[in-house]
Amino acid sequence: MQKSASSGQAHRGLTRRQLLSRASAAGASFVVGAGFIAAPDAAWAAETVALKPGSFATLVQMARDIYPHDHVSDEYYVIAVRGYDSAEAAEGIEAGIAALDAAAQGRGHASYLAVSWERERVDILRAMEDSPFFQQIRGGLVTGLYNQKAVWPLFGYEGESFSEGGYIDRGFDDIAWL
């Protein structure tokens, strides 16, 4: 209570510039992930810990088919589903992937990954969209993919703006085409 009363006081007395310098000090702790480096041609799939490499590759393809963005490279989808490559999650994921492959085989393909057209993979997913496995993967992607700070610029989203002083001098009203 002591702390908050005094910092509240201070906050009201601070200038915009002082607030800004405080913010950039705080911003130093704002570090983006471990910097995943996309290896050529699915080399990441071979580095799995708990999942079979083929299963992980299938999972990444499935993630892409659920939320396809052609301008977003695989590395972000890999990051989004990497958490499932763990001892706790592996069993359920392997079972889900097996079901996915079985559905593909039912349509005459060797596996889900072997289905070449997105349309047909999506048909397979539609048929299982109420399953807990599908909902687990889809639900996880909503934050797993779109809450990656490194993905935001690919959509033009600028994220945090306080440390730069907001947009008051940086184009909050710069629309020119209207």
């Binding site: 906050h11 009201r12 405080r22 779109y146 959509f155 994220g159 945090e160 209207l178």
Partner: protein, 523 residues
């Protein structure tokens, strides 16, 4: 400076919750020399603590204790454990709120009289009216520094507003402006002017937006008459054999049960927790819950008729830059039944960041129809629809005895079905919203379903007669003289306007009444 009061001190007013209602009431009473203990379930976060990141901020501020849902509203399916998007922190949901601060229109105080019989709606006139409230609204606008009132200038329009304004004017709307906002357009009350950072929902890091946590709460504490007990969760209100309340049992930050004696208790925990507390305070004398002789505690839950419209254009808008709610169209707020529904609605610009857009644009959707919409994120503009919804007795907050919270208390179940009037209004409003963007050349528009409720109203409603509601025109419960309700749950009807200015005006008025009655010795 904060005043520590003894738990046995039965001269204090205990207020539960420190948001729009409770925070303002606490300060107003403290300024008048009344001793106040405020119990707040959440912790204290100030501008330097707020986070410009949607999910991180949600984790910091949102009320995520368990709740359950039922009914035909889509929230019950998509966000079954999160019926409302509100805050658990000192300052309550005034940290999250966007700042739109509008007075009710005159006829909205008298919805039953104005709209007549609406089948299935439990409409009632407020026991107060526009003339009665005018001076209190003025005090509230001064406190909040509302733009375009009291000679304060409007805010500048951002990109999202400019698109909205151009479309609205092309459709012939005339009441189009950058809103009456509790956001400083120039320095005011020792706080900075808006820096257009665009994270109004995450707590304003500049303090430019009014929030009770760094205004009323601190001013009240500075008088020496207010003690705020953070991370203290009120569990039960106690009473004596005469039926007067005597104190509040609460769990402190360590989970230990404590009791604070009280001369008066005011409940301001927002429209789920306030009725929950009254229901959880049932006793042999009040078997259906405190102040519930009418059976109306928890009923008539309103959440405003809402929805959003997003439009995608062939060029960038960057709607996230600047104030989140940056402008308004008021032409549709009137009551004009020729549109096919009673009551009216406001259109207000809105923007979500990419993470929330992905979660809320079309919850559960996937595939290219959805992802191509997000591909247009930079070129998107957005607006929110807020209109009057119909109170229904069956839309209701009840105790769910099958689910308990971390203290072992039954949680609330929130049941909500849309009324046909709500559906008709929403469909009409979607068309207007989409037409606004079409008029500026949108290539695609999205009628987006309501989010988890941000405006929660009506579950302890105000009524002239004790049989129709829970509190009288002062927010005093009909059944228990020294028990008050001080938040949005008092609302008899919801009107088309965002509720907070009215909650604040009612709290200022209630403080005046309580202080007067205390000194007259009648309370």
């Amino acid at each position: 400076m904060t005043a520590p009061f003894e738990q046995t001190d039965d001269s204090v007013v205990v207020i539960i919750g420190t948001g729009a209602g409770g925070g303002v009431l606490a300060n107003e009473l403290a300024q008048k020399g009344v001793s106040v203990v405020s119990l707040e379930a959440g912790g204290r976060y100030l501008p330097e603590d707020f986070i410009n990141d949607e999910w991180e901020s949600f984790g910091q501020l949102a009320w995520t204790d368990p709740r359950t849902t039922s009914g035909d509203w889509r929230v019950a399916k998509d966000f079954s454990g999160l019926p409302a998007w509100i805050v658990k922190a000192v300052g309550g949901t005034t940290t999250h709120w966007a700042g739109a601060s509008l007075r009710f229109q005159e006829h909205e105080w008298k919805a039953a009289t104005t709209y007549g019989e609406v089948q299935g709606a439990n409409l009632l006139d407020w026991p107060i009216d526009a003339a009665e409230m005018a001076p209190w609204y003025e005090k509230a606008e001064t406190k909040l520094g509302v733009t375009r009132t009291g000679g304060r200038p409007g805010l500048p329009g951002n990109n999202n507003y400019k698109v909205f304004e151009k479309g609205a004017k092309a459709l012939g709307y005339s009441e189009v402006h950058t809103g009456r906002m509790a956001i400083n357009s120039e320095d005011y009350d020792g706080r900075l002017a808006c820096q257009q950072t665009g994270f109004c929902f995450q707590g304003c890091k500049w303090g430019a937006k009014w929030s009770s946590v760094y205004t009323d709460i601190e001013y009240g504490e500075a008088t020496g008459n207010l003690e705020v007990r953070e991370r203290c969760h009120a569990a039960r209100i106690l009473h004596d054999d005469s039926g007067k309340v005597t104190g509040v049992e609460y769990f402190d930050a360590d989970g230990n049960l404590q009791m604070q004696a009280a001369r008066i208790v005011c409940v301001a925990g927002n429209s789920f927790e306030s009725p929950r507390l009254l229901l959880n305070s049932a006793s042999s004398m009040f078997p259906d819950g405190l102040a519930n002789s009418s059976g109306q505690v928890g009923r008539n839950y309103m959440r405003h008729m809402t929805g959003s419209v997003y439009g995608v254009f062939d060029k960038p808008v960057r709607m996230w830059r600047g104030t989140t709610m940056a402008g308004i169209v008021q032409d549709e707020a009137k009551h004009d039944p020729s549109r096919g529904f009673v009551g009216g609605f406001e259109l207000e610009t809105l923007s979500l960041g990419l993470p929330f857009m992905a979660a809320f644009l079309d919850p559960g959707a996937w595939g290219r129809e959805f992802t191509t919409a997000l591909d247009g994120y930079e070129n998107m503009a957005g607006l929110w629809i807020v209109g009057e919804d119909m109170p229904q007795e069956t839309n209701r907050v009840t105790l769910n005895h099958d689910v308990t919270d971390q203290f072992g208390l039954p949680v609330v179940n929130v049941h909500f079905d849309d009324h046909p009037n709500d559906v008709a209004m929403r469909n009409y409003a979607y068309e207007k919203g989409m037409a606004i963007y079409d008029a500026v050349g949108a290539t695609r528009t999205f009628p987006t379903p309501p989010y988890p409720s941000t405006h929660n109203l009506g579950t302890n409603r105000m009524s002239e007669n004790a049989r129709d509601g829970v509190v009288n025109k002062w927010g005093q419960t009909h059944d228990v003289a020294n028990l008050f309700v001080s938040d949005g749950s008092q609302f008899t009807t919801g009107a088309a306007e965002n509720p907070t200015l009215t909650i604040v005006a009612l709290a200022i008025r209630q403080a005046d009444h309580i202080a007067r009655e205390m000194s007259a010795g009648t309370l």
